[in-house]
């Protein structure tokens, strides 16, 4: 890595460079480059990694903690009672299993030894342990691995000695032998009989899964770990806290919904797990599992009881259709009481199937209330489940996955009770919708009073639910309602001690204020929060506040500040925590928007494509978030002057929005931007109806900031249509609104001036037009906005100057427009701003009686590629060139 001869020089130079700040360093390196170019180049390369080192937190933290849990001890040779441990036999969720041997002359026996966590240390615990063990010891069935012995060893360490089973897991066995349906079912029946026997003795397995069902070399199925989940999880009876935090071992893929929610599991949880197992054995896949699907999305589907039929799996056997589909579905019902009442009943149905007799399980002719609800009101559920439920889902899965429940029980209790509260809340909302059709709006509106009613006594939960509700309003761009809810949540949370939640609420409120024109106030609020928030304890909250501040900065075009906040936020989110998925996506999206605004369109486009792909992967394709990303991706393409490419994006967005049946909750932005693309494709007559829709939505929802922007677009479209009267009317409406909501230095103000320039030219007032274009240019320059935006203003300026016969100024402006547009191309090969600049240039050259054909040809090439033939012709016509 380091050239030998110059190590000392490099080392010393590096010491020096590290102490310098960035400016000093650049200057110093430049100096050094003159003197020792090789050394300077080497140093520059090494120091170039500095940002990445910081951002990736390269070598931050340490591996020592991780190595800890890995350093499980080697117990070989240790004696446990009469047994001598030989080797490690396996390692899983329940810790390490050891293979041990008894060889005392009388017996020669191989056993498996499992050590349990030690909640049994006190005398009462030990007595309970002995009781449980006696119970398990009575479990005697040829298909259940026997408990041979148990005891409490040194350091109060309880252990179990179990029959050592050599074999392969049932799923691998079935796959390897390519067993047919009858063979699988008869194997499965043996299991069912064993489980049924255990249930009769009141022993529940709670962790049934293929690795606990081994098939011996003789082809005999053996169930492992029966009743052990209980020994490992339960510590004491009674207390409420343990009911929630007791995280008995389970495997999420096989756990029943009630287990996922941290509720006690009984025999019906085993019925569920057996349903999963049967599904897996027959189709090769577990129910609810799709490739690339997030844990949260899966949880959501499980909780909504939306299980596709087993036979609908790609490649599933046709024979599954009908009875087997129904049997599996009945075992897998979300509600315990809808499942088979016992394992014996399930076994009975499997037997009937094998005997070609009618089974008890029926296809659900009666749709559940929830599924009826889903059909009637798709967006309602989309929002309900995405918002309220997904919060719960993400929390629960995150907790389960990380086993936090054990480590941070106070926090975990809080999170779990929140998860349960959201469940209750959702159930209450769904009940409301059971009798009469409700719109999403009505659901949300009733949400607030429901929350107050149900959770009035628990400020933590009440604040969190209000917060979640406000997020929903926020995502529907109903800022005023969102802000009211957040203010309410803010005052509620004061009486709780959850300072992380308080921070998130305030930062969300600040972000929302940014959307409604109070960016400065918002930024101040977040600054204040960040000052008091302990970064170490509230990393996620800290990150989300930084992201909010970055978003507010971006909204007022402070792109440098925005970028640094957003990047800092990204470096703080823990990417391994699935509950951060959404925040990370949103932050990345905001960052991509900032890049685009600054003119780094190619980078932004790449990032958006990745983001859209990830959101699809997360199963969130049909959400308002995905729609927002699609919309903003379209905006990036528009900003880069790629209208031809932008149109299908908006077409898709419009379709998806219609598919979501959003009605009055539709996002006006999509209509507005789609209209903008059409206007630039010279189809203003198609754009106008879209604008009108957007304006109506914005008006109805009191989105006045939006109204300002929308009016600019509408006026622009009329201007392109040549309707000076309408254009001016809209312009007059927009001016005071823009002044009210946007600072003089803002891209919306620049857009206003561009539009006013267009109107002035249309009215034959070239002087005024020049003034407006000049102002637009100044704003864009001052804000450091994208080159294509600046090129637009310059092209307008050139045309207006040409109108006035000020050809020298016109030519200069057109030339600058052209070079800016060229630089702004990035990875794109053509763009509309470049075409437009060239078109203006050709027009001026013609007026100067200079050769212009070459320029015109180039303009046509650019335009055809970026706006298509139709628009090209229309633009040529407007510029007074013969249409080709």
């Amino acid at each position: 890595m380091i050239g030998d001869e110059s190590w000392d020089a490099l080392s010393q130079a590096l010491d020096h460079a590290i102490e310098l700040d960035e400016l000093e360093r650049t200057a110093w390196l430049a100096q050094l480059a003159a003197d020792k170019p090789d050394l300077a180049a080497r140093l520059t390369a090494i120091l170039g990694g500095s940002a990445a080192v910081q951002q990736q937190r390269f070598l931050d933290g340490d591996v020592s903690a991780a190595a800890v849990e890995m350093a499980s001890p080697d117990l070989a040779g240790t004696c446990i009672g009469p047994f001598v441990i030989e080797s490690e036999a396996g390692h899983g969720g329940m810790g390490t299993v050891w293979r041990a041997r008894r060889d005392d002359g009388k017996f020669n026996q191989t056993v498996a030894i499992k050590f349990l966590a030690s909640p049994w240390a006190d005398r009462e615990g030990q007595a309970r342990f002995q009781r449980e063990v006696r119970l398990l010891g009575r479990l005697d069935h040829p298909n259940i691995a026997r408990l041979i012995d148990a005891g409490i060893g040194a350091a109060n360490q309880p252990y179990l000695v179990l029959e050592f089973v050599e074999g392969e897991p049932i799923d691998e066995y079935c796959k390897r032998l390519a067993l047919g349906i009858p063979a699988i079912l008869s194997l499965f029946l043996q299991l069912l009989d064993a489980v049924a026997l255990a249930h009769r003795q009141l022993i529940v397995h709670r962790d049934l899964k293929p690795s606990n069902v081994m098939i011996t070399r003789e082809g005999v199925p053996k169930l492992l770990d029966f009743g052990i989940a209980r020994l490992m999880g339960d510590s004491s009876d009674g207390e409420q806290l343990t009911r929630i935090t007791r995280a008995s071992p389970m495997t999420p893929g096989y756990a029943a919904p009630e287990q996922l929610l941290g509720e006690p599991a009984d025999t019906l949880a085993d019925v569920y797990a057996l349903g999963v197992l049967l599904h897996e054995l027959l189709t090769g896949e577990r129910p609810y599992e799709e490739p690339g699907q997030s844990a949260a999305a899966r949880f959501q589907a499980i909780m909504a009881d939306r299980l596709p039929l087993a036979s609908s799996r790609p490649g599933a056997r046709r024979a599954l259709r009908g009875d087997l589909d129904n049997i599996i579905a009945k075992a897998l019902r979300r509600e315990r009481l809808d499942r088979y009442a016992s394992v014996a009943d399930l076994a009975e149905d499997v037997r009937r199937y094998l005997a070609h007799e009618p089974v008890a399980a029926r296809a659900p002719t009666l749709l559940y209330r929830t599924s009826r609800f889903v059909r009637r009101n798709r967006l309602g559920v989309a929002i309900g489940s995405i918002g309220v439920l997904a919060v719960a889902a993400a929390l629960v899965t995150a907790l389960v996955q990380q086993g936090i429940a054990r480590k941070e029980s106070a926090r975990a209790t809080r999170e779990l009770s929140y998860a349960q509260a959201t469940q209750e809340f959702l159930a209450a909302i769904l009940q409301q919708g059971a009798d009469k059709p409700l719109t999403t709006q009505q659901l949300l509106d009733s949400g607030e009073s429901l929350i107050d009613l149900q959770f009035g006594a628990t400020p933590d939960l009440r604040a969190r639910l209000l917060f979640a509700l406000a997020e929903q309003y926020g995502s529907l761009a109903q800022s005023a309602t969102a802000q009211n809810l957040l203010r309410k949540a803010q005052s509620v949370v004061k009486s709780s001690r959850d300072s992380g939640l308080a921070a998130r609420i305030t930062c969300d409120l600040a972000e929302s204020l940014g959307y409604t024109g109070s960016a400065d106030q918002g930024i101040q609020m977040i600054d204040a929060v960040l000052l008091t928030l302990e970064r170490r304890d509230y990393g996620t909250e800290y990150a989300s506040c930084l992201a909010s501040r970055g978003t507010v900065h971006a909204g007022v075009n402070h792109s440098t500040a925005a970028e640094s906040d957003l990047r800092a936020a990204l470096s703080l989110y823990d990417p391994t925590d699935p509950s951060n998925d959404r925040s990370i996506l949103q932050t990345r999206e905001a960052l991509a928007g900032v890049l685009a605004l600054r003119g780094e369109s190619s980078a932004a486009v790449r990032e958006y494509r990745e983001l859209l792909a990830s959101i699809d992967q997360l199963g969130r394709r049909n959400t308002s978030l995905a729609l927002k990303f699609l919309n903003n991706y379209g905006i990036v393409l528009m900003t880069a002057g790629q209208y031809l490419e932008a149109w299908p994006v908006f077409e898709q967005a419009l379709q998806r929005q219609a598919g979501m049946d959003a009605g009055q909750l539709a996002d006006p932005a999509i209509f507005f931007n789609a209209g903008g693309v059409l206007a630039n494709l010279r189809r203003p007559q198609d754009a106008l109806p879209l604008y009108k829709k957007a304006v109506a939505l914005a008006e109805r929802n009191g989105m006045r900031t939006w109204l300002a922007t929308l009016l600019i677009g509408e006026a622009n479209a009329y201007c392109m249509l040549g309707d000076a009267r309408q254009a001016e009317a809209k312009m007059r409406e927009s001016v005071p609104l823009v002044a009210e909501f946007f600072p003089p230095q803002h891209n919306s103000t620049a857009a206003l001036h561009l539009m006013m320039g267009c109107v002035a030219r249309l009215q034959g007032n070239a002087r005024t037009a020049r003034e407006h274009y000049r102002q637009a240019l100044e704003i864009n320059e001052a804000l450091g906005l994208s080159g294509s935006l600046r090129a637009k203003a310059l092209t307008g300026l050139a045309n207006a100057a040409a109108d006035e016969q000020d050809l020298t100024a016109a030519a200069a402006a057109a030339q600058r427009a052209e070079s800016l547009a060229r630089v702004a191309l990035g990875d794109f090969s053509h763009s509309q701003p470049l075409g437009n600049a060239l078109l203006a240039k050709a027009r001026i050259q013609r007026a100067q009686n200079a050769p212009y054909e070459q320029t015109l040809k180039a303009a046509v090439t650019e335009l055809q590629a970026s706006v298509g033939d139709y628009a090209t012709r229309s633009m040529l016509q407007a510029a007074g060139f013969p249409v080709l």
Partner: protein
């Protein structure tokens, strides 16, 4: 367990700067780490066994420094030797665990986020280790900072005290080491 005579010899030779002796010392310390880790862990319940590298490091020091008849280098030199051995110990542990992981099944245990942030897995750790070896040839002290901090979990403050330098100096060394290693690893991509 190493006899005192063996240990004494290894330390002396390593201190005299013999490369081979150094390797032998690392190997010896590596097996001591194993032995002491096993002993410490078997004192705890196997289910909940926890032992941080930092604790292990101090245990090893306490044990070996307490041996009679060993001419023992000072604490800081000693830590430098053990931290190198610890690196190998941890990488082997990570590798071992990863090879035991079976696909398809859900695992409750996750790597510490610190790992997944910076270096994900055994092959990555191995690359880092190679880079450290190379860095050590140029500047052993710099590589030791990384061993002590990243692999043994000591804080920069602790390392500064150990080395009797200011924390600021150590901070600079740390930055420098990170930059050089990052540069090296990048050049491998």
């Amino acid at each position: 367990m190493l006899s005192n005579v063996e240990l004494d010899g290894l330390f002396r030779n390593a201190e005299r700067g013999k490369g081979v002796a150094r390797d032998q010392l690392f190997a010896a310390l590596y097996s001591e780490l194993h032995r002491i880790a096993r002993r410490e862990l078997s004192r705890q319940s196997p289910q909940a066994a926890t032992l941080s590298a930092t604790t292990l490091l101090h245990e090893v020091y306490a044990e070996l420094a307490g041996r009679p008849d060993v001419v023992f280098p000072d604490r800081s030199r000693f830590m430098a030797y053990v931290s190198r051995a610890m690196r190998g110990f941890i990488i082997d542990r990570v590798r071992q665990r990863q090879s035991q992981k079976r696909g398809g099944e859900f695992h409750f245990t996750q790597l510490n986020t610190a790992i997944s942030d910076s270096v994900a897995a055994a092959p990555e750790l191995q690359k880092l280790s190679d880079a450290l070896d190379e860095l050590a040839q140029k500047d052993a002290a710099l590589a030791e900072v990384v061993d002590l901090k990243f692999f043994c979990g000591l804080t920069l403050g602790e390392i500064a005290v150990l080395r009797n330098v200011s924390e600021r100096t150590l901070q600079r060394d740390w930055e420098k080491a990170r930059l050089l290693l990052f540069d090296f690893l990048k050049s491998l991509e």
